[in-house]
């Protein structure tokens, strides 16, 4: 389970969707405490950007995508022997600073701007849009503003520019919003926000038994492990890998 | 050459009193010390060697030297001291710079219009001078007098050197002013243009009673139009005054030897139309000049006033001496004179100071002639002057 005890300078390069950053930082700390000889270099960017980079030869080993399509695209393009699995499910919350226990009913009457991520770009956006559409009995009073990512949607709300937003629970927890100041949107009103991890096919990975390959496999296994999944849950996601 | 109306010919207006004290220090080490209080009218030539500070002086007066220890007041009004600074645009002074400084993106006409558009709504200037508003030279007159018609639509960086200078002069003339400062305005012009434009400036100056500070290196110009002169010498200004000694003082500083001479003040006597000769009276003697002096002298209010004084400049090199009157020669002017003094001018020439009916004139002859003729101080001889030497430039 532990990597070969030979010194190896190459860091494990992991491309991480920005919205997973807070959780990932805790995960990597835990991982490094278990694997003292491994170093990790993390690359944060939007999933779309990371996808473009990987397609153009970015030297990443693992891609923790915030969405399903991009990760699957990458996986399909390469050696099917590389792993792919859902490491977490995102959760959508309604947040309106200053409003206690907001609900969708409140949102219907709300006269202000509501920030969501761009549904074309981000799964959180798609989820938010489908919820809003389901709720809409009559034309809503609010104005919908789109952030290019869920992070941006969060900025809109955090800065006060937008009065409410449908954002990620992980963000809310990270930002320290009190329990009764947001509303967890019921999971049944949107399709699951799958976050997939995929191993990127690279020459060192192909060499059976190479240190890099061992490290990659180790991390992927770690991600499925119970402590890791608990950390992920603590960070505001649903467990992606139920197994023990 | 010099042959012009006196200050008393001016239309009775007072001059401008300039009082200028203090120092201007340049980073280069040059320093200008000024201590001047003078009422100027007519054309005041500013002469002096290259680099002596003429341009610097004019800049001080026009208001382009701000951070200096200067005190300037004009007609009693303080324009600049340690606490007051009237900016150049509010001084009723119009300047022709040594480099023409036309606005390169404008045509000639637009350069002129830059000024005329702004005046005569002479806003702030009113505060300094009320009479200014009355006077504004007509654009057409200036264009015609400086022959600019054919240039008007030209871009101003497509001009020849002389054309550029004429446009710069025109532009300055169009600004209503109480004082003109012209820094070598005619340096790039040919002799003919110069002899046309210099009298025009002189005429304007007299017609509108605007004093001119006129920087020039051209002695002919000085003699032709200057009423008095300031000499700038290594940063020190000295007023040479306007008396007949004016030209006498040039040589040691500036002029080539040909230019020294004396000025005789004569009264008008008669014009002999048949021979085109003017006769001037110098006490009992007569001096003949070619042409009608009264016509050539441009501004005479009352030409036939017998009090009219006419100054005639007689270059020392044009005066020969003779022990007796000479007959059968073309030398018309033979004036009886008394030898006052003799100087060794150069190793081989002698300069005689002569008394001609109470006025001084100069004669330069060779040392050889001087010794041949045995000339002595106190002796009475005849000064022979070729009449045509005294000719004013023809119109």
């Amino acid at each position: 389970d532990s990597p070969k005890q030979t010194p190896d300078k190459t860091a494990l390069r992991i491309a991480v969707a920005t919205n997973f950053k807070p959780a990932f930082e805790r995960l990597s700390k835990l991982f490094l405490s278990q694997h003292s000889l491994v170093t990790i270099s993390a690359h944060y960017a939007s999933s779309g950007l990371l996808y473009a980079q990987i397609n153009n030869g970015a030297p990443y080993h693992i891609f923790l995508s915030a969405d399903r399509t991009r990760a699957q695209n990458i996986w399909k393009q390469q050696n099917p022997d590389t792993g792919i699995f859902t490491y977490a499910y995102g959760q959508l919350v309604l947040w309106a600073p200053g409003i206690e226990n907001p609900e969708f009913e409140w949102l219907q009457q709300h006269q202000g701007s509501v920030a969501i991520a761009n549904p074309e770009l981000a799964p959180y956006g798609q989820a938010a849009l489908s919820c809003l559409n389901k709720q809409a009995g009559h034309t809503p009073a609010y104005q919908l503003v789109l952030g290019s990512s869920v992070a941006q949607a969060f900025h809109f709300v955090a800065s006060g520019a937008a009065t409410a937003g449908l954002v990620a629970k992980s963000q809310i927890l990270d930002y320290g919003v009190a329990e009764d100041h947001y509303y967890l949107v019921p999971a049944d009103c949107y399709a699951p926000i799958e976050q997939l991890a995929v191993v990127i096919d690279s020459p060192p990975y192909r060499v059976e038994g190479s240190t890099t390959r061992i490290k990659i496999k180790a991390f992927m296994e770690f991600l499925k492990s119970k402590p890791a999944q608990s950390l992920i849950e603590e960070a505001g996601y649903l467990r992606g890998y139920p197994g023990e | 050459m010099l042959e012009q109306a006196q200050a008393s010919f001016l239309p009775g207006l007072p001059g401008v009193e300039i009082s200028l004290q203090g120092k201007l220090k340049r980073a280069s080490g040059f320093s200008l010390s000024l201590n001047l209080k003078e009422t100027i009218s007519g054309v005041t030539a500013i002469i002096g060697h290259s680099g002596s500070g003429k341009t610097s002086l004019t800049r001080c007066i026009a208001g382009f030297e701000k951070n200096t220890d200067l005190h300037l007041s004009v007609d009693g009004e303080v324009w600049q001291n340690s606490s007051i600074f009237v900016p150049p645009e509010n001084r009723p002074i119009s300047t022709v710079f040594q480099e023409a400084r036309l606005f390169p993106h404008l045509t000639v006409m637009e350069n002129l219009k830059f000024v005329t558009r702004r005046f005569p709504t002479a806003h702030k200037i009113e505060a300094l001078d009320h009479s200014l508003q009355n006077f504004c030279l007509p654009l057409e007159e200036v264009i015609e007098s400086l022959s600019l018609d054919y240039l008007l639509s030209r871009s101003s960086n497509e001009l020849s050197g002389g054309e550029t200078q004429r446009v710069a002069l025109a532009r300055a003339l169009l600004r209503p002013a109480r004082l003109w400062i012209f820094d070598e305005p005619l340096a790039s012009l040919d002799a003919q243009a110069r002899t046309e434009i210099a009298p025009y400036i002189q005429m304007l100056c007299k017609r509108h009673a605007i004093p001119v500070l006129y920087v020039t290196h051209n002695l002919q110009e000085v003699l032709q139009i200057a009423d008095n002169a300031w000499l700038m010498d290594a940063g020190n200004l000295k007023s040479l005054g306007s008396d007949s000694e004016l030209t006498r003082q040039f040589p040691s500083h500036l002029a080539v030897d040909e230019d020294i001479g004396g000025v005789l003040e004569c009264a008008w006597k008669a014009y002999h139309a048949d021979y085109g000769l003017s006769e001037l009276a110098l006490s009992t003697a007569s001096v003949f000049l070619p042409g009608d002096v009264l016509q050539n002298t441009q501004v005479l209010d009352n030409p036939h006033d017998t009090n009219s004084k006419i100054k005639v400049f007689i270059p020392a090199r044009d005066v020969s001496l003779s022990l007796a009157k000479v007959a059968d020669v073309s030398l018309l002017n033979q004036l009886p004179v008394k030898i006052l003094a003799v100087e060794t001018d150069t190793p081989h020439t002698r300069l005689f100071t002569l008394d001609c009916q109470g006025q001084k004139m100069l004669s330069r002859i060779t040392a050889y002639s001087a010794s041949q003729l045995n000339l002595e101080i106190g002796q009475t001889v005849f000064a022979l002057i070729k009449t045509v030497s005294l000719a004013a430039p023809d119109k």
């Binding site: 939007s46 779309g48 950007l49 996808y51 473009a52 399509t69 991009r70 695209n73 701007s113 920030a115 761009n118 074309e120 770009l121 104005q143 503003v145 789109l146 952030g147 290019s148 941006q152 900025h155 809109f156 800065s159 006060g160 520019a161 937008a162 | 026009a62 208001g63 382009f64 900016p87 150049p88 645009e89 509010n90 002074i93 119009s94 300047t95 710079f97 480099e99 400084r101 036309l102 606005f103 390169p104 993106h105 404008l106 830059f114 000024v115 702004r118 005046f119 002479a122 702030k124 200037i125 871009s155 960086n157 532009r171 300055a172 600004r175």
Partner: protein, 228 residues
């Protein structure tokens, strides 16, 4: 994908983009000459500091500027609050907000070329204008500005082009509202991000062609102006 949809989106975005670029360029070219003139001629010891301040929008990443701008123009922000009080409108996610953002972001690109150019102005010509009775304001307005026509055009076109491509700030404070704040650069960004590469290529080509034609025309015009 949907070709009809694509073109109508592009058309609307082009309209928004051009009006944004035109408005902010117009504002910039009204304001910058004055600041540039002051910077170019000031002898003040604070001048370099002030000049550096004006260049700061260059130094922060646009999205970060956008973030701070977002805070300032939000209804509670120090710009947004008085604006709401005055106009009753929200500055965030509005065209006016974008104009403010573009203005700030493009300021140094319009300002600096003007400063450089104004520094080259011959002091002698200013003295000549003064001697002809023109007070400082007139010297600037009716001598320097016409004389520096070419530099003004160049600076304006730099600002215009930069506003066309601006994106980080717009993304941050615009909220991607079609017909109001969705500019071409955002459309293009969306297409790239959503893996619609074919559309992205067309949009990029369209933007390049648009800019190329406009800039070529401007630069040709500029070549016609002969002096300074």
């Amino acid at each position: 994908m949907n070709s009809d949809n694509y073109w109508s989106e592009l058309f609307t975005a082009t309209q928004v983009t051009l009006s944004l670029a035109a408005t902010s360029t117009l504002l910039l070219i009204c304001v910058c000459p004055f600041i540039a003139w002051w910077i170019a001629r000031s002898q003040s010891r604070t001048r370099p500091f002030f000049e550096a301040i004006m260049s700061l929008p260059l130094v922060l990443p646009p999205t970060v500027i956008g973030f701070y701008l977002l805070i300032s123009i939000s209804p509670g922000g120090f710009i947004g609050q008085p604006w709401s009080a005055l106009t009753g409108n929200n500055l965030a996610f509005s065209f006016s907000g974008l104009v403010i953002g573009s203005f700030i972001y493009s300021l140094p690109f319009v300002l600096q070329p003007l400063v450089i150019s104004f520094r080259n102005v011959d002091e002698g010509l200013l003295e000549a204008a003064a001697s002809l009775g023109a007070p400082p304001a007139t010297r600037f307005l009716s001598l320097i500005l016409p004389m520096q026509k070419r530099a003004l055009i160049a600076a304006a076109s730099l600002g215009f082009a930069h506003t066309l491509g601006e994106f980080g700030i717009v993304l941050m404070i615009g909220g991607n509202l079609e017909g109001e704040t969705r500019v071409l650069s955002i459309v293009l960004f969306d297409q790239v991000e959503s893996l619609r590469y074919q559309d992205a290529h067309s949009t990029a080509l369209f933007m390049l062609a648009l800019a190329l034609v406009m800039l070529t025309l401007v630069y040709r015009l500029q070549g016609r102006i002969k002096h300074a």
